[in-house]
């Protein structure tokens, strides 16, 4: 995963109390993980060529096919990150409600 050094830091300062801020490292990373396959596939000029071929298949075709499993890995990563984020939010809400 491409790691943007700034992205791992929360953009907003942590507000006081147990409220989870809208922008968390998990959410930013998940957003990036989702963005990578979209940008890669829409950047058509980066793969619009026949060389190098693989097993007789021109680059144009095997490269895009390869992105199918790769994009799934990125989406799974986003899923795990968002899951963590939502668990933290639920915990914070429960703690807030118990006050």
């Amino acid at each position: 995963m491409p790691s943007d050094p700034d992205a791992t830091e929360p953009v907003m300062p942590e507000p006081p109390g147990d409220r989870v801020p809208a922008v968390t490292p998990e959410r930013v990373l998940a957003g990036l993980a989702l963005l990578v396959p979209i940008v890669a596939l829409l950047w058509v000029s980066s793969y619009d060529k026949t060389d190098p071929p693989a097993g007789g298949v021109p680059f144009f075709y095997w490269y895009q096919l390869l992105w199918v499993p790769v994009s799934a890995v990125f989406t799974v990563a986003a899923y795990l990150l968002i899951n963590r984020d939502e668990k933290a939010r639920t915990a914070a809400r429960k703690a807030g409600g118990a006050r």
């Binding site: 989702l34 979209i38 829409l42 058509v44 000029s45 619009d48 096919l65 989406t75």
Partner: protein
């Protein structure tokens, strides 16, 4: 008239009989507590877990027409036809962002259709109506195209009777297939396609895996296949190429993006999503749906295999839509051809069932109950929806038989363009209430008008109007997908008019949703519902 392929036909009919039995038995599967409620017939009780949803969505989105049309496009144009692959890759990360929110708000408020959500969010009946009508309009030709998929298979099997047969003999198998489909959809609702999707997807996977291994062995390997394709496209006026010419790259990217954005605006996709039992089920599915994309990519390569196998060679009038069914018939032993054709045929039934249910839900909730009979009970809604699902299928059948097949293909292209114009209202609404509902209405109208008008002006060898889906993008000068350009115009109008309407303090409709509704998970709505949601049902 071609000879009938008997072994293939027998296998085909056996599979067809199997799914018919399953379709009728499906009404007993996970039997409902309250069978009269539209949630049961129209959304399978909102109870499907991760795997059922995966099969259902796969069966729903990857239709028989896809199986026929995608390799046909590759067969005819080469690289340009491959855009279906980036399209399905881009789609899931994109919708991952907003579908969980749509699921949550729909669960809290009992929404069955995207137009229900628009009604609740903006409190605007006209906006909700146009979203519903756009959905119905875009779905109808799509159902019709499923019939075209079955017809292609029947033709190659030899039971279609060819061009010169009496129309009744020619279309009798189609009548039977659709009659059976209509009957079990009527009795079992969304449970029927959900159950049949298991058979459909399993068959499709088997056929594709066998095809991409067995056919290249018979044809002398992938290297030879791509050489043959390159040879075909190197001829002058071949109409295709192995990579994209520079001026087609924008078209490729905008088609992929626009189609990906449109995919989950289609009512039948939303139906599949809302039928799942939890927010996390939706998310998990966005991560595992690419398995189908891989299959689609391999399937696209079958177009090249058809070229290498010499399918349609020398026949100037060969219908590219038949290239893959013909390839199967030429390459496979007869009994396996039957399996492959059963996969395509059943692959038409599942989406046709879900689409007709989705269109019926839209009509019932957003036209009938909203405008004609506001006092309709949930049992009335179910009764009407069942009847409408029949009407929709009859309509699709008349459409395919009565009109030019080209018209169905044109309209389906337009359908994608149209449904994309509901994106701003639906996805915008999932994140913000900033847009004014009249601004969204105007944006929708502008996008629809621009897109339809531009598409009307495009001619192709096959048709005088609606001959393509790409045109020059004003201000950029590249050729791009008309639907996406129309979407940009739609968004621009919606933003500009919202600013104006806010400046003059135009009155807005009530919003029945609350921020917490958009992140609600199954089971936690009760304790959080301090103010009772209005008009939940």
């Amino acid at each position: 008239m071609k000879d009938v392929n008997v072994p293939a036909l027998v296998v085909f009919v056996l599979f067809f009989a199997l799914v018919t039995v399953m379709g009728f038995l499906a009404s007993r599967w996970r039997r409902a507590d309250d069978a009269a409620h539209l949630d049961e017939w129209g959304l399978g009780g909102r109870s499907f877990g991760t795997w059922v949803t995966w099969f259902l969505l796969g069966g729903d989105l990857y239709t028989a027409y896809t199986f026929v049309a995608v390799p046909a496009a590759v067969y005819a144009t080469g690289a340009a036809g491959f855009f279906a692959v980036p399209y399905t890759i881009v789609a899931y990360p994109l919708v991952f962002l907003f579908l969980p929110r749509l699921w949550s708000v729909s669960r809290v408020h009992g929404y069955v259709t995207p137009a229900d959500f628009v009604r609740g969010r903006y409190g605007s009946r006209p906006l909700s109506l146009v979203v519903a009508l756009t959905g119905i309009l875009a779905t109808m030709p799509y159902i019709a195209l499923q019939l075209v998929g079955i017809q292609a298979v029947l033709d190659v099997l030899g039971v279609g009777g060819g061009e010169h047969a009496n129309w009744f003999v020619k279309d009798l198998p189609l009548f039977i297939a659709f009659g059976v489909l209509a009957a079990y959809t009527y009795s079992s609702g969304l449970r029927a396609p959900a159950l049949i999707a298991f058979v459909k997807d399993a068959l499709i996977y088997i056929v594709i895996i066998v095809a991409v291994i067995y056919i290249p062995i018979r044809l002398g390997g992938y290297g030879h296949i791509f050489d043959a394709a390159a040879h075909k496209f190197s001829a002058p006026k071949s109409g295709g190429s192995m990579t994209l010419p520079d001026n087609k790259q924008w078209t490729y990217a905008t088609l992929a993006l626009g189609s990906a954005m449109a995919l989950f605006m289609y009512p039948h996709s939303v139906t599949g999503v809302l039928a799942s039992k939890s927010r996390n089920t939706v998310r998990r599915n966005m991560a595992i749906m690419p398995a189908y994309s891989l299959m689609l990519g391999l399937l696209a390569l079958l177009g090249f295999m058809a070229i290498a196998a010499g399918v349609g060679q020398g026949d100037k009038k060969f219908n590219a839509q038949l290239s893959v069914p013909q390839l199967f018939a030429d390459m496979f032993p007869d009994w396996f051809t039957g399996v492959a054709f059963a996969a395509i045929g059943i692959g038409a039934l599942v989406p046709a069932a879900i689409m007709s249910i989705a269109a019926a839900n839209l009509f019932t909730r957003n036209v009938y109950k909203e405008w004609l009979k506001p006092t309709a009970s949930p049992a009335d809604e179910t009764r009407i929806a069942k009847l409408v699902s029949l009407l929709v299928k009859v309509g699709a059948l008349v459409f395919v038989l009565g009109m030019d097949k080209q018209a169905a293909i044109n309209l389906q292209l337009l359908g994608g363009l149209w449904i994309l114009q509901t994106f701003v209202a639906i996805v915008g609404g999932l994140f913000t209430r900033w847009f004014h509902h009249w601004a969204l209405f105007a944006g929708w109208a502008a996008g629809m008008a621009y897109g339809t008008w531009t598409a009307y002006g495009i001619a192709s060898p096959a048709t005088k109007h609606f001959g393509g889906n790409a045109a020059a993008i004003p201000g950029i000068g590249e050729i791009g997908y008309i639907g996406l350009t129309a979407f940009a115009l739609n968004l621009l109008v919606a933003v500009a008019l919202t600013l104006v309407l806010r400046a003059v303090k135009a009155p807005e409709g009530p919003d029945e949703t609350r921020p917490a509704d958009y992140s609600a998970e199954a089971g936690d709505e009760e304790p959080e519902n301090a103010p009772e949601p209005v008009a939940a049902h």
